[in-house]
């Protein structure tokens, strides 16, 4: 579905996407993960033929993104990062408008647009002007328009950005449903759990470079193998000798006291939370809560790229 070779984009000498090689297979839900400014949107804009690459090639749905760009556009659906609409038009007429580009006959355009908006839960709103829509509703319209041509490949740039948990959940359900219908999905995100829940394969990009492409399980193992984890403890009566004792534990990498509690930075290879709890409780402290944070995206990068990446 997607095959890139040395895909590169320079903006006035600044390399936003640096020689990336990616392969997305039919039926994948591919997660494209990276922090802000990593080059996700730039990559997506190249894959969707909006931006022409500085160098390198890519084929999408079996067509070259440069020489066969129209064919590519015909077969993909794009939900841009921050979609905007003609504010004075209704969602229904906007969808019908976009449907025209694909040669869909008039009566079918209307039927299909209404159907998609109905599925998106916008049935009651579809004849209202976009300017009355909330952010979440606009996101739904953006997803609906990406489906108007029954794309083979759906490319979503941060589909759940700015959505509330329920909205995000709905979107994920929708995406799973589309996968089940045989659609290939390429989505970008900087939220690790979201990608973990949805995607079978993940590519990680940082500073314009691909740092890893793998299945979720493999990645998770690698992260756990090399990452670190925060253990945040709240409670009363925690004293300096207790902390000294914890510091002596194997795998403790740092202790950061905060007003609300104490953060222990631990090597994720060791299961240190019970050990810390034991030391504090036997020392006479009253432990109220122990919170184990998931590895952050930053942790992943650190673990995947090594410390030299920190500079």
């Amino acid at each position: 579905m997607i095959e890139t070779r040395g895909l590169t984009k320079n903006f006035n000498g600044f390399c936003a996407v640096d020689r990336i090689d990616l392969t997305v297979k039919k039926g994948d839900i591919f997660g494209f993960l990276g922090p802000n400014g990593a080059g996700k949107t730039t990559t997506i804009r190249m894959l969707t033929t909006i931006l022409s690459p500085t160098s390198g090639t890519a084929s999408v749905c079996g067509h070259d993104i440069i020489s066969e760009s129209i064919e590519v556009r015909r077969l993909i659906g794009l939900m841009p990062e921050s979609p905007g609409f003609y504010e004075n038009m209704s969602a229904l007429s906007i969808l019908q408008f976009y449907a025209e580009f694909y040669g869909i006959p008039k009566n079918e355009r209307k039927k299909k647009s209404a159907e998609l908006l109905e599925i998106m839960g916008l049935g009651d709103f579809m004849k209202k002007k976009i300017k009355t829509y909330s952010h979440g509703m606009r996101k739904r319209v953006a997803l609906a328009q990406a489906l108007i041509n029954d794309p083979e490949l759906l490319i979503l740039d941060e589909p759940t950005g700015g959505l509330d948990p329920q909205g995000s959940y709905s979107f994920r359900q929708m995406i799973r449903g589309l996968r089940d219908r045989g659609m290939t999905v390429f989505l970008s995100s900087h939220i690790l759990p979201e990608v973990q829940q949805l995607c079978n394969r993940v590519g990680i990009i940082n500073h314009g470079r691909i740092v890893a492409v793998d299945t979720i399980e493999n990645l998770a193992n690698r992260i756990v193998a090399r990452g670190k984890r925060n253990i945040f403890v709240t409670g009363e009566g925690i004293t300096a000798p207790m902390l000294d004792e914890v510091a002596r534990l194997q795998g403790i990498m740092g202790i950061q006291p905060y007003e609300t509690g104490i953060n222990f930075v631990a090597d994720s290879q060791f299961d240190l939370a019970p050990e810390i709890n034991r030391i504090l409780v036997t020392g006479g402290a009253r432990v109220r809560s122990i919170y184990l944070s998931e590895p952050t995206l930053e942790d992943i990068f650190l673990s995947l790229t090594g410390d030299e990446e920190r500079g």
Binding site: E100, F101, M120, L122, D150
Partner: protein
């Protein structure tokens, strides 16, 4: 699944319904695809652009302005023009002091001929010989023109000659149009030649000569040979039963009909009953016909005026106002990516937008222009020249199209909507206002006098280079001025060609720039 537990706890807010399960999977596996034709994208963009513009407040405001200027202008000027041309079609064609027939020692009779603008005698027009006084005018003579249009005032005293003058009243209105005449006494029988310069063929140029030969009572004399000659002109004719002979278009090819001629001397030679007399005739345009262009003699001139003043100013403003944000808005509201990812060439986006905006403007503008033509011809009660009307309608649309494309280029290049509109207004100012400064400066550099023929030619040639100038010139050539029009300094075919070149070049530039800059 943990995720579902979380969502159940969260109260639904904002949207009434959640996203639904996707129905039936079977039809999905073979999605219907239709052939993509290259016109589909541009056409749907054009349609959307057209409707959006038609519904916009901007359009309403602009068209109100346009109606005010064009229809209001057309109506107002037509009214103005009829109020002058509806003045009685009467001229005091000539008046001549007659011979001394009663032995007073000086010529003391006055022959006055009353005709219409084409030299046909007007009977029953009141003629007075009057001394205008502050309280009460002193009327020495009062009478009506006879069937030959002639009135003879007899026995004027010597003292009257300086202070008394002719007053003609026709249909209750006083006509102050007594013109210089050329009277010539012929022998053997008392006869008078009254020659006058008129616009007999109605081409807005007073370069036709009417020669009337009458006796002392204004009775026409037929079969008199009249010849008219100048350095590069010679013609002759014989008077008809009305005593008249005409010479037309003496000034063809000389000077700018809009700017006036320099006076020219003609020799008039009359052969009557074997005797030959000669006199000198000067032909020049008097002040009235000098300003004939602004006197709006007919519907053609009014259409030309409305186009070259009102539309030349407003047309670009309408084009700029409706297209300055056509690209920037798409970028700023972030709907551009939706268009760029549709199965169509990038050119199609700008072409579609151009066609949409153009049709949205062309439709009401052409309707209003047509209405203006109707108003003009019904108020002046004359029908305008067909080719001028056609040119007026077509060139106006082309003119506006050029400015839309120009503005679209700025809209593509500009980062903000403000820059886009400012650039458009700057171009408008340059083409419509500052451009004439170039010819003024160039004229000064070349040593031409402002308003001289040489300067006018150069001014036209420089004006031709910009869309507004070529629009104006293209229409000027459709004005039915007879004779040579190469006077304007550019051949007649050139202005429309220049407009077409502007249109094509701007189109190519706009599409090319858009293809390169759309994604930035």
């Amino acid at each position: 699944m943990v995720e579902e537990d979380i969502t159940e706890e969260i109260t639904r807010s904002g949207i009434s319904e959640p996203i639904k399960e996707i129905p039936g999977q079977e039809d999905v596996m073979q999605p219907k695809r239709y052939p993509i034709k290259s016109y589909l994208g541009p056409l749907s963009i054009a349609k959307r652009e057209f409707t959006a513009n038609m519904k916009s407040v901007r359009m309403v405001v602009l068209m109100l302005l346009f109606v005010l200027a064009v229809l209001g202008g057309a109506y107002g000027i037509s009214g103005l023009s009829t109020s002058t041309t509806s003045l009685p079609e009467v001229e005091v064609l000539a008046w001549a002091v007659l011979e001394d027939d009663d032995g007073m020692g000086y010529p003391d009779d006055l022959l006055v001929l009353i005709t219409d603008g084409s030299g046909t005698p007007r009977p029953n027009v009141k003629v007075e010989y009057v001394d205008y006084e502050e309280d009460e005018d002193d009327v020495f003579f009062e009478g009506n023109s006879n069937s030959n249009g002639a009135v003879v005032v007899n026995n004027i005293t010597y003292a009257m000659l300086g202070t008394y003058s002719i007053r003609v009243t026709y249909e209750g209105e006083e006509i102050d149009r007594a013109r210089t005449s050329y009277a010539l006494e012929l022998s053997p029988k008392p006869a008078y030649v009254l020659a006058h310069v008129l616009d007999l063929d109605d081409d807005n140029v007073e370069d036709d000569v009417l020669v009337m030969v009458t006796d002392g009572d204004g009775i026409p004399i037929a079969d008199v040979e009249v010849s008219l000659s100048a350095s590069n002109y010679h013609n002759n004719g014989t008077t008809d039963a009305k005593g008249t002979v005409t010479f037309r278009n003496l000034m063809a090819g000389e000077g700018d009909p809009f700017m006036g001629f320099s006076p020219k001397k003609y020799d008039v030679e009359i052969t009557h009953s074997g005797s030959i007399s000669t006199n000198t005739l000067y032909i020049y345009q008097d002040d009235e016909s000098m300003t004939s262009l602004f006197e709006f003699e007919g519907p053609d001139e009014i259409i030309y005026f409305v186009a070259s003043v009102f539309i030349m100013m407003l047309g670009p403003i309408i084009a700029i106002s409706l297209s300055f944000d056509s690209i920037t808005k798409e970028k700023l509201q972030r709907s551009m990516d939706f268009l760029l990812s549709r199965p169509m060439g990038r050119r199609g986006i700008i072409v579609g937008k151009f066609l949409g905006i153009l049709s949205a403007i062309a439709l009401p503008v052409t309707a209003i222009n047509l209405l203006a033509v109707v108003v003009i011809s019904s108020v002046t009660n004359k029908s305008p020249t067909g080719s001028l009307v056609a040119g007026f309608l077509v060139y106006t649309v082309v003119f506006i199209a050029i400015y839309i494309l120009l503005q679209q280029i700025f809209s593509t290049l500009a980062k903000t909507t403000g820059t886009a509109i400012l650039s458009g207004i700057a171009i408008w100012l340059i083409f419509n206002m500052f451009w004439s400064l170039i010819s003024i400066a160039a004229g000064a550099a070349m040593g031409y006098q402002l308003g001289s023929d040489a300067w006018i030619k150069m001014n036209n040639q420089i004006g031709l280079m910009n869309p507004s100038g070529s629009y104006q010139l293209a229409l000027a050539y459709l004005l039915p001025v007879e004779g040579e029009v190469s006077i304007l300094g550019v051949p007649g075919w050139l202005p429309p060609v220049v407009m077409a070149v502007w249109l094509v070049v701007m189109f190519l530039l706009a599409t090319e720039i858009f293809v390169r800059k759309a994604d930035s």
